[in-house]
């Protein structure tokens, strides 16, 4: 920390703490000490304060202690001559700044409840999103976990103009980074500049407009802190681990754009505590020696066209850029972008026209690698607003190619098309839906570019399992219908084959330690009848992933001798788990929630919990924010059992897993299910119905209570009794 910076940091921290105190006093006068405060829908209270100091701030009155601590930690100003060492005090002042900013923002939520949209997207009248709630954290967290998002850039201020802002944002998006925006410079704000440049902002495009003032920067720190708590399984208050976790695993950095005020410096010092370096576009003093961050701490005066590249280098991040020769930008960050209304140039599928996507294997001599053909009109041949039928037929060949890999390759089509800026893709197989935006067409995007994308990316990611690939896009209705018929036949065969696979007849399971980058002791072992709890990986995916990358996070696990067939425990699996969890976990059961269930990481899709009074089990999905009969919301549950723990009575699982045959089979399978949120029931309705029929209780879906029945065991029990729910007559779940 240079003396100049340290002096500014400490001044800035004093200002922020004074502001917080003033706001707090006013709020106390108005609301009183018992007024509840907090960020919306989170189990982490004010997350930096909670994560670093372990103190939950729930009421206005709780802030008094925090302010007192802030003042204790606040260092004296840096003396001009013969200053005392200032790095440590400045770093402390940075943390204090975050604490005080959380108080300021929490009071803002109290004073102006509608200041932030409190959702993933801006509204027509408000672009400020505010703190990420736990749903967003977990949904987006998976991307941090599996590497689709290596980190984030916290941008303060504004670019010189909106073109430069858009350029920088796009560059960050192309590197798959999230962009967290706050504060203003010269009356301009980066978020507003993006809107001005017609760039879609919001969580889906990774351009997150946190808030207009500098204090909203703390939402970025809060996100990072919660990543450590929820994915890293770090205890609140274990500040050192929270910070080192971020230094090692969350590849974030700060980009102050414009004049760096004392308050900005103070926030920057806070960020450095997390190992997040600062890359400025102004000539502020540099801090190059290594130590708190992995490499430099403050690098300055970087031209805008080099800013992102420099930031990534300083943070020590390796981003493998997808080289896809298409006229629009390409990257995971564009996946969530939407194409709507007036912006639509071309639309296919989605019930409007027939559409299908199909990957099939061919003999080597039948495929000409790189051949891309559009049969029928392409974009250049049609006017804006056209709807076309579309079949995307992908033919692959190679010595390693197996029929089982076809669906895996096919499933890539969805996100790969979405990665293209200006393309929106929903669904798969014969229910796919595609929109191409006018903006993309203006840049020269054609349907044939979908072929270009698939050729380049599938080769890059799956090159080990095939040698040649050719893509044909049909836009003539009769041709499309012909393909649909062929494809449907294949889909039916595929589904039957997968359905027929059982754990008992399979000797090799697959590990998934993909999220060990974030949850170091968590180990998923995936069997045909127990898909990954994140919902992203099933047994077949893992098998293919292993073929593609034999040293990667999916390794074959020979299940070995049966230790307990009912609970689902095998010798070989245990041995693997001991090794992969670095000795933290020595065994677990696949099919039980009561006895040593499988570990749960912070990114599970749903969490099941025992309801003793109902002699059954409930489950709750991540998107459901309400209370549940086990007394905890999803987010509290995830916070309690996530992070690689095995917690009897609770288990994380994928949504798909609910209707798999081995789901909770040790306790009596799906017949134990007494409660789940309505939205989840609806989402899996078809499969739920099928499974219920298979179990011989076709009415089961109607017997399962939801929040419209009640959210406590007392409320739902009469309902279960009335419906004659099978769980009530089963043996005691607690044994």
């Amino acid at each position: 920390m240079s003396k100049l910076i340290a002096s500014a940091v400490i001044r800035g921290a004093h200002n922020v703490v004074n502001q917080a105190e003033e706001k707090w006093k006013q709020a106390m006068d108005k609301w009183g000490a018992n007024e509840p405060v907090g960020f919306p829908n989170t189990a982490y209270y004010l997350p930096v304060i909670y994560g670093i100091m372990g103190i939950p701030v729930e009421k206005l009155g709780d802030m008094e202690l925090i302010l007192k601590k802030c003042k204790n930690f606040l260092p004296a100003p840096v003396r001009e001559t013969h200053p005392l060492p200032y790095l440590a005090p400045a770093l402390d002042a940075g943390m204090v700044t975050f604490f005080a900013e959380e108080l300021i923002e929490a009071i803002r939520y109290l004073e102006e409840p509608d200041f932030y949209t409190k959702q993933e997207d801006p509204t027509d009248s408000n672009i400020w999103l505010g703190a990420a709630d736990d749903i967003i954290l977990r949904k987006r967290g998976i991307e941090f976990v599996d590497g689709t998002a290596p980190g984030f850039a916290a941008i303060l201020g504004a670019a010189p103009n909106s073109e430069i802002a858009a350029q920088i944002a796009q560059e960050l998006q192309q590197k798959n980074l999230y962009v967290f925006m706050s504060s203003e410079y010269n009356g301009k704000r980066f978020s507003e500049q993006l809107v001005e440049a017609s760039v879609q902002i919001g969580w889906p495009t990774r351009l997150v407009s946190f808030g207009p003032s500098v204090s909203a920067t703390v939402f970025a720190a809060g996100f990072a802190t919660r990543a450590a708590l929820s994915f890293g399984g770090i205890e609140p208050g274990d500040y050192r681990k929270v910070l080192i976790y971020n230094k090692d695993r969350v590849f974030a950095f700060a980009l102050p754009m414009g004049y760096v005020t004392d308050e900005w410096y103070a926030n920057a010092a806070g960020a450095i505590n997390y190992g997040f370096p600062v890359i400025a576009d102004t000539p502020i003093p540099e801090v190059l020696p290594t130590g708190i961050c992995t490499y430099e701490h403050v690098v300055s005066n970087i031209p805008h066209n080099n800013l992102v590249a420099k930031a990534v280098e300083v943070r020590g991040l390796k981003v493998t850029l997808a080289e896809v020769p298409i006229p629009v930008a390409f990257g995971a960050a564009f996946e969530g972008e939407r194409v709507r209304g007036e912006d639509i140039y071309l639309e296919a599928g989605g019930g409007r026209t027939p559409m299908v996507e199909w990957v099939t294997s061919k003999r080597m001599d039948e495929v000409e690698d790189g051949k891309i053909e559009v049969v029928g009109p392409d974009i250049k041949d049609i006017p804006a607003g056209t709807q076309l039928p579309l079949a995307i037929a992908v033919e692959v060949a190679g010595r390693e190619m197996q029929e089982d890999y076809e669906p895996i390759l096919e499933r890539q089509i969805h996100h790969l098309i979405n990665y293209a800026q200006g393309a929106m893709h929903i669904g798969q197989r014969d229910i796919a839906w595609l929109r191409i935006a006018k903006q993309a067409v203006e840049k020269g995007f054609l349907l044939s570019h979908i072929g270009t994308i698939l050729h380049a990316k599938l080769h890059q990611d799956f090159g080990r399992i095939f040698d040649k690939i050719q893509i044909t896009l049909y836009t003539e209705e009769d041709k499309v219908k012909e393909i649909i018929e062929k494809a449907r036949e294949v889909y039916r065969n595929r589904d039957a084959r997968i359905e027929g696979m059982t754990d008992d007849t399979t000797d090799i399971y697959y590990s998934c330690t993909l999220c060990q980058s974030f949850a170091p002791s968590h180990v998923c072992v995936i069997s045909p009848e127990r898909t990954g709890l994140c919902g992203s990986y099933n047994w077949m995916d893992c098998k293919a992933a292993f073929e593609i990358n034999p040293t990667g996070p999916n390794q074959p696990v020979e299940k070995g001798d049966v230790i307990d067939a009912k609970l689902g425990q095998w010798k070989g699996v245990n041995e693997f788990v001991i090794k992969a969890s670095r000795g933290k976990i020595d065994h677990y059961n696949f099919y039980s929630i009561v006895n040593d269930p499988m570990t749960t990481c912070g990114c599970c899709e749903a969490i099941a919990a025992i309801l003793p009074m109902c002699n059954g089990v409930m489950t709750v999905n991540r998107e459901y924010t309400g209370e549940t009969p086990c007394g905890m919301k999803f987010t509290t549950l995830a916070g309690t059992i996530g992070g690689g723990l095995s917690t009897p009575g609770f288990v994380g699982h994928g949504k798909y897993n609910i209707t798999q045959r081995k789901y909770l089979s040790a306790e009596g399978s799906l017949l134990r299910m007494v409660w789940m949120p309505k939205m989840l029931k609806e989402e899996i309705a078809d499969r739920l119905k099928a499974r219920a029929e298979e179990l011989g209780v076709p009415d089961l879906p109607d017997m399962i209570a939801d929040e419209t029945v009640g959210t406590t065991e007392e409320e739902i029990l009469p309902f279960l009794q009335e419906k004659g729910h099978p769980a009530l007559t089963m043996e005691s779940i607690l044994g």
Partner: protein
Amino acid sequence: MADKKAKSIDQATIELIEKAAKDNCNIAFDRADEMKPCPIGSVGSCCKNCGMGPCRVPLPRGKEETPEEQMKRRGICGATAETISARNFVRMIAGGSAAHSDHGRGVAELFLAVAKGEASGYEIKDEQKLLQLALEWGIEIGDRSNNEIAIDIGEKALAEFGKQEGELLFISRAPLKRQEIWRREGVVPRGIDREVVEIMHRTHMGVDQDYDNLLKQGTRAALADGWGGSMIATELQDILFGTPSPLLSQVNLGVLKKDEVNIIIHGHEPLLSEMIVAAAQDPQMLEMAKSKGAKGINLAGICCTANEILMRHGVPLAGNFLQQELALVTGAVDAMVVDVQCIFESLPEVAQCYHTKIVTTSYKAKMKGATHIEFEEHDALTSAKEIVKLAIENFPNRGSNIHIPEEKTDLIAGFSHETINYLLGGLFRASYRPLNENIINGRIRGVAGVVGCNNPRAMHDEAHVAMVKELIKNDVLVLQTGCSAMATAKAGLLVPEAAAQYAGAGLAEVCETVGIPPVLHMGACVDNSRILIAATAAVKDGGLGDDISDLPVAGAAPEWMSEKAIAIGQYFVTSGVFTVFGVTWPTTGSKEVTDFLFEGIEEKYGGKWAFEQDPIKAARLMIEHIDKKRAALGIDKARERVLYDMAMRRELDEV
């Protein structure tokens, strides 16, 4: 009269040497001119351990010795020059180790008395360090009060001195590899006193007559100092008086004030001086001072008592070892309070030229001509007030022959191990990581401990300042204690601004980042234990090998004079640190012993001694050694920047 030009690099010192001569006052500088060192004793070739001698066995000068001639160089008992040299050397270690350790014992006794509530005026100041030490020593914490815990700590600490077998507790603080080396060599101290007593026994006439075996015991007694008595002193003092943290103060005789009662605290123990600091701020005392015409009470220190109260209270330093008489020569010191170690017996005599009262305070250390006011630990504040009162009452007796030099320099002190740990990362990220990282990336080439005394056989302060300047110029971060720190403080090296002015670009950049001087003052000579702990912390933080001997570090005492310095040097060498001494070397009467200490010892302990009078050449030796260690660690080349992808992140161990 002494030749003033060659005496010191410090203007205040030069002025007062002149004034002493004018005042007809005989001082150490004069005596050093008048008496040359004994040529036989100075090379360790005189054995006076029995009534058959003293036997002199000096190495013949200017020619190679034949084996026959060497056989003839023996004492009456047949003791060889090797045995005699080693005997004298390890007796010096015994003296030094005894001095530090007896200091440590005194602290432990007071600590226990405080814990038992038997020493009014003192209290446990650093609770965190108390609890840490309790954890380390397996002392129950539970719901017990600080004093209850402290009683157990005090008793356990005191027991270390009289322990007969096993290992000293703090040995387990050293890196594991280092502990193995000590065990392999059979030099792990059993008890502090025992190792000193055993040296006295073994060097008695007709006992241990194998220089190698003698030096081994010397090592054991030295380790009992560094990792025993000294470390106990430092740790318990920190708990009792507070762990130092950075503060601004001043150094040199210019800190004396013409219109205030000047009290100098001199010696080595902070026990009483802590109370004098309190007494000097007592309103009653201040009132009394005013009634005698003084504007206030000005406390300043000399030697390591000074360093102790500087580190914890910011009390200014009047000067180092060779300035003790000169403080009196100013004519402005109303009382000089002394405790133990490094106190010139000439002080009462010098005081007679002026009006100063010399006050001895330890029953262990009395002098003719001094007033004795004994430090009573049970009622220390009363003793302290009595002393301050004596000084105040003496204020009106000041003569007109007063000269307080202008010289005073600002310095930043207070760098304990705990503080350095904090300073490198703040409350939330405290660690040695940034130090290690910047050593690895080469901004910091290495770390040197430059410590020790003054010696009138060499120009005062010159070697300290020249050596330290050379080191920092070459990007070596310097840690200091004792009188050496005062020398460089006077030269202005202990302020952060010195980094830009004197340090190499890499070190300067790190100093600017952390806001530290390129030279860190870590305390009194007993606090050299802090350097051991800092070195261990650097090893444990990783990336620089797995033992102290792997670190790119070196030590030096360029103006040493006391037996404590030899004990310190020996525990540094046998802890794995290359250590260079200046001025004189006490074993040169035996080539074999000297060769062993300068070379052979490295095979056993990974560290060795060197002797070099030229401070620049000595600094170069240290840098050479540092470079050698850097090369061995493979950090002598620039490293590629590692960019991480997700697969690499998964490989990371859990924090």
